[in-house]
Amino acid sequence: MPALWIRNARVIDPASKRDGTGDLFVRDGRLVARLSPAERKRARKIEAKGLVAAPGLVDIHVHFREPGQTHKETIGSGTRAAAAGGFTTVVCMPNTSPPADNAGTIQYILDAVRRDAVVKVLPTGCITIGMKGETLAPIGSLKRAGVVAITDDGDCVQSNELMRRAAEYARMFDLPVMDHCQDHSMTEGAVMNEGDVSIRLGLRGWPNAAEDLIVSRNVIISAYTGAHIHMQHISSARSVEIMRRAKADGVRVTAEATPHHIALTDAALSTYDTHFKMNPPLRTEADRQAIIAGLRDGTLDCVATDHAPHTDYEKDKEFDYAPNGILGLETALAVTLDVLVRQNRFRLSHVIDLMTAKPAALLGLPAGTLAEGAAADVCLFDPEETWTYNAKAGASKSSNSPWSGQTLRGRVHATLVDGRIAFALGAS
């Protein structure tokens, strides 16, 4: 493979505190400080004037639906969507069909990744068998099979005793436990945030207290066991506050926020559009502001999409009956830039940090940096370019995005994985 020379980009690598115009050099899939004159002559050159060269984005929360629900997404289509969104490393959730609660299923996923993936995919395994919250999954075997964390995402472990044992056990393998924080007894039949809007619409409310309780529980279990517990998609202001205090106390907890929870509120549900139905639900403006503040001061560690594909015909239903979840990978960068940089004056490098080095460090992944010697995983994007997102024309197999048809600002031009082009604008 010839060397690669990315010229005149604004190189932003928060991990190595780099932010300035310059070049990137790639040899044998890795970033190097320089190329020899001979290599330069033969190198493939990418003119990147006006573009930002950032580490390939890292998403620690995606649903690729393989095995079992490949009508919604596959590892192939999901990773093409990831590449189109600038992501080079993604962590997929185990709520497949069957759930990834054993080494065999993990092996199946890794085989599909080797065969079909255009970006790096790291699997997670279930905390409990069948995600039923009753019996611990073979966590040691899952670790040996290659999972980077365990989670029953979508089905929060309800038993405090089981969660405590899972945390204690996973700690032995240095495996983070990721939790979808939701008290089921308080959210029976709930389809949106409980508040003024749910009262007006007559929809069953999902109170933020049901999230806050489990976030608190997890803080307590983490403090008690010393295990690393990661709170997935924090949506409530009080949960942000609980996390802030836990971190101040030195508890080993981390948390993520999604682009949709920082961009939207439950006011968007007024027409019962199922493209705004997800779990946890969109909440209030005060919650949205608290999540942004949490990302600003580091209480929340990173941005993660919760990319959750569903087909048109599954989403095209009565609000109560439509499944939870929206696409995220192809819009995450633009939406996050818009909310954090343009509306809330975050520095661009801060946002890149939240989407690269921070999530990578959280799970100990070898990703998220442009440092010399690192894999040449690069996202080239124009932070100002506007474009119209058409979910149907996107790389994902599904098109359930609330942003479809909207003009977004910030556009990925190319995504490199190990120095190979995984996505190039206009080259599909």
Binding site: G195, D196, G202, L203, R204, T271, E318, D320, Y321
Partner: protein, 315 residues
């Protein structure tokens, strides 16, 4: 002012003028219902499909009767033996009904927002006959119609709605209608069924029955829907009755001329003493009768007719 609305989805979106147009049209139809020949040819040749995907007796019969009084053909869609049981989606069911050349759909559905969803899919008018805990616009219209018959203008009138507000589409539709008509609305019941958030709809929220009923011109009772609450929202029906059931003593707190309303079905001895339900202040059966006239008005207007034409078309 001409009537332009094709669908009736919520009262929230109606203007005061539209509510008044429906009421005046209903009043004209009510006169006809008193005649020996109760049928008018207004919707002759039109087919109305009653798509009731949730159990209903009163509302379904009233819509059925209203359509027949207007000379429309009515097809009832029976959820139990229908394609929805075979997994057909609501969109497919509705598109099939439209393809069968129905002129209008009346929908009752357990899921809030379903009528709005249908109205976006279909070209024919969609009438909401109750969607989950959201709205039941024809009930709100017939309730306020009945109140006006007894009280005249509702401006400044005190209306207490008592019972399960949280899960009630009747309450929501009435709150919107009453607020637009200038009435003071107090919602009263246990705090678990009457959450504070309802103040955002312009109603007062109270858990003190005595002050809520004091001098009220109307008390509207709502059925305790124990099938929806899973026994968590209050300790027992017995305790509910002892705290919030309407009995003679409590009814004496009302304005002496106050009327007692209930959208039905009634749980006698739970939210209301049997005697009161049948008493002279009760207008519960008038509500049912008015339900036909109001639904005739809604079907008539949404089919594209104008309020002022009622009389001429019924001669």
């Amino acid at each position: 002012m001409t009537w332009t609305r094709r669908h009736l989805i919520t009262i929230e979106e109606l203007s005061l003028l539209e509510i008044e147009q429906i009421h005046s049209t209903a009043a004209a139809f009510k006169k006809i219902l008193g005649r020996s020949v109760k049928k008018v040819p207004a919707l002759r040749g039109k087919t109305i499909v009653n798509l009731f995907l949730e159990p209903s007796t009163r509302t379904r019969m009233a819509f059925d009767m209203a359509a027949k009084r207007l000379s429309a053909d009515v097809i009832a869609f029976d959820a139990a033996s229908s394609s929805t049981q075979k997994g057909e989606t609501l969109r497919d069911t509705a598109e099939n009904i439209q393809a069968l050349n129905a002129d209008m759909i009346v929908i009752r559905h357990a899921a809030a927002g379903s009528p709005l969803y249908l109205s976006k899919i279909l070209d024919i008018p969609v009438i909401n006959a109750g969607d989950g805990s959201h709205e039941h616009p024809t009930q709100g219209l017939l309730d306020t119609f009945t109140m006006k018959e007894h009280l005249g203008s509702l401006k400044g009138r005190k209306v207490a709605i008592l019972g399960d507000i949280l899960f009630s589409r009747v309450a929501r539709s009435n709150i919107h209608a009453l607020r637009k008509m200038g009435a003071d609305v107090t919602l009263v019941g246990p705090s678990t069924l009457v959450p504070h958030g309802f103040t955002a709809l312009g109603a007062r929220v109270s858990h003190d029955l005595k002050s809520a009923l004091a001098d009220a011109d109307v008390v509207m009772l709502l059925r305790i829907q124990h099938e929806r609450q899973g026994h968590r929202h209050f300790p027992s029906l017995g305790e509910y009755t002892s705290m919030f059931g309407l009995n003679k003593t409590r009814a004496s707190w009302l304005n002496p001329k106050a009327i007692i309303m209930h959208p039905g079905p009634i749980n006698r001895g739970v939210e209301i003493d049997s005697e009161l339900a049948d008493g002279e202040r009760s207008v519960i059966l008038e509500q049912v009768t008015n339900g036909i006239a109001v639904r005739m008005a809604v079907l008539y207007l949404c089919a594209g007719n104008q309020p002022e034409h009622v009389i001429s078309s019924t001669q």
